[in-house]
């Protein structure tokens, strides 16, 4: 395994006495595509929320590309290069698809109050941002929708928009929460192709996924959580043949274990 881009230690979070996340160590290698799997309520999304600052940790530290990010607010974590998407995509409904993309570009001079008033000082940068936005829209196949309100997109298109938008933010690590949930098979194929592309762009990907076929087809490292704890990790084959993992999934299916809501 190459050097890790993200290392998290002793991350814990409880809700009303229930320990929802209890991860001793979580590591992501630079350039890898890591799948985070586990039965419903395993704490995967909560773990995502903690790492990206959307949920306050009880304890824990994590270091991303040499910078400590624990306790930082979400926008600071995104600026550091760790950008996430959401399980239910958050399209900015009453903004155009293109504006959704342009918004995400980092370091925009025109985002400061006084500078925004002097159009000349940000016009050039805005044009560059627009070019990149269009390029990425072509990449996710939404170029024709650029002028539409994002609220008119289908669920799958919103997932694609979110992926493109996340890339607009210049991340080094993208964290995708169930990128293919609720997406039709055709679009799923496109999405998976795009996610695989990301490695070629020098990016690292962590994604939460339920569909084992998806996991098998694109991930090169799999981490399995159950009841807030990492119970196994390794290659897809190693993890899916691990008895603890099978037990966690079956236990869940047979309703033999109490589970925590994520």
């Amino acid at each position: 395994m190459s050097e890790p881009i993200l290392v998290a230690n002793d991350v814990r979070k409880s809700f009303g006495g229930l320990l929802a996340v209890n991860v001793d160590r979580f590591e992501v290698a630079k350039g890898a595509i890591v799948a985070l799997i586990g039965p419903n309520g395993a704490g995967k999304t909560t773990f995502f929320n903690l790492l990206t600052g959307f949920e306050r940790r009880d304890s824990g530290v994590w270091r991303f590309d040499g910078v400590d990010l624990e306790g930082k607010p979400p926008h600071a974590i995104a600026r550091a290069g760790m950008v996430r998407t959401f399980q239910i995509p958050k399209a900015l409904a009453r903004m155009s698809v293109l504006d959704n993309m342009k918004l995400a570009a980092p370091h925009q001079r025109g985002e400061r109050f006084l500078i925004s008033l002097a159009r000349r000082s940000w016009r050039e940068q805005e044009a560059e941002v627009e070019d990149r936005a269009i390029e990425l829209l072509e990449w996710v196949g939404l170029e024709v929708k650029r002028a539409d309100y994002a609220g008119t997109l289908s669920g799958g298109q919103r997932k694609l928009l979110e992926l493109g938008r996340a890339l607009m933010a210049d991340p080094r690590l993208v964290m995708l929460d169930e990128p293919t949930a609720g997406v039709n098979p055709t679009l799923t194929a496109t999405l998976l192709e795009r996610i695989k592309d990301l490695r070629g762009r020098g990016l690292t990907v962590v994604f939460v996924e339920h569909d084992m076929d998806v996991v098998a087809s694109i991930s090169d490292h799999v981490v399995c959580m159950a009841e807030g704890v990492v119970i196994a990790e390794g290659s897809h084959h190693e993890v899916t043949s691990n008895p603890a993992v099978i037990d966690a999934y079956l236990g869940r299916e047979h309703g033999e274990r109490a589970t925590v809501r994520s």
Binding site: F15, T46, N49, E55, R261
Partner: protein, 452 residues
Amino acid sequence: MRIQRRARAVAASLALGVIALALVAGPAAAGDNSVPGQQPEPTTTTSSPEAESTAISARLIDNTTPNVKGIEGARIVVFQKGKKIGSATSDADGLAVVPLPGAGTYEVRLVASTIPDGVRLTDPDKIRLPDVIVREAQQKFVIFPFGKGSSGGGASAFDRLADLAGAGLRIGLIVAVAATGLSLVFGTTGLINFAHGELLTFGALVAWYLSSSGEGAGITLALAGVIAVLFGGALGFGLEVGLWRRLRARRTGNISMLVVSIGLALFLRSVFQVIFGASPRAYDQYAAQKSVDLGPLDIQPKGLVTIGICAVILVVVALFLLRTRLGTAVRAVTDDPDLAESSGIDVQRVILAAWVTCGMLAAAAGVLLGLNQSVEYDMGFKFLLAMFAVMILGGLGSPFGAMLAGVVLGMAFEVSTYWIANDLKTALYLGVMIVVLLVRPQGILGIKERVG
């Protein structure tokens, strides 16, 4: 057309409140050529020659006798910025009317030497009322109560605090009753109803027209109050069926509904003003009562009755919520509408029940408020923020919290005036509410929402 149908439906529902009022006001308006809102009020005005005129009407009442009577022959003088505006001497009913040149802030003084022997002001400090604010075309009523005067010899601090606590308990319970209704609706629908104050006013006005307009049914206030509560329930029903249910069906967001409720409040309040007029009035019965002495506490019998009625209402509502099927369903919908829906509860019916209850509670609170203070077209609106405060303090959507918070806040509110200026007490409770919202948005009793 769908839009037209909707438009008609909404208009019809709006009209409901007005019609309900019109029905009550009907006999008064049709009786003679007098205009609604200007009926001469036998107890307070002598003849009302020109109801449009701006004036201060002072009423001098003697609380020492079992039957309250006016004090005749005392002189009041009205000043504005030190300049004398006019004066009048009280008639046999204890009434003295000073016409004014227009709206403004006036000072009303009672000339001490003209006070008849054998009586004295309940509160000697109140011989001068410095900031009487009079609106255009308003007949502003001020009262000079006479009596033995517990404070005549300087009441003890303990007595004063006890009296303030008593007043606080009374107002706090009334607000608790009203806020419980507000809370029921918020809990079941998520709507913060800015028109809730108008539901209070509605109840108070209905009771006034039935009991005290002189041209209405002329029934006793107790009966009128009960009828007003039924009308309040009907108004709640009408608003839910005619307006809110339709808006929910159109998937109108909570913020939009909040704005709609503001429009509704402006509309209803103005209609009340047109019908009832701008001046405050009192119910004929129990207008001025002699206080009874309960240890350190001096309280009017109507105050005691108010406390009793409020307590009974709150217990009944609590039993309704805890013991009846419908009440349980209301609580279930408050906790989790989706879950309730999927477990077979008819959410629309539950919300309807919440609205009817809300209308009844608000009307009851309005009648009691009118009894203890005065009846006015914007009396409910003045208490709107207090009701919000109580609802928030008690935990949004938690009726039990609202009950407790009403009492706590009401007492704190009145007792605080022992230390801080009277005109700042409203600011105080609003401040308390803001702090509570910031540090404990779930309220004092609410359970912290689980995030995630």
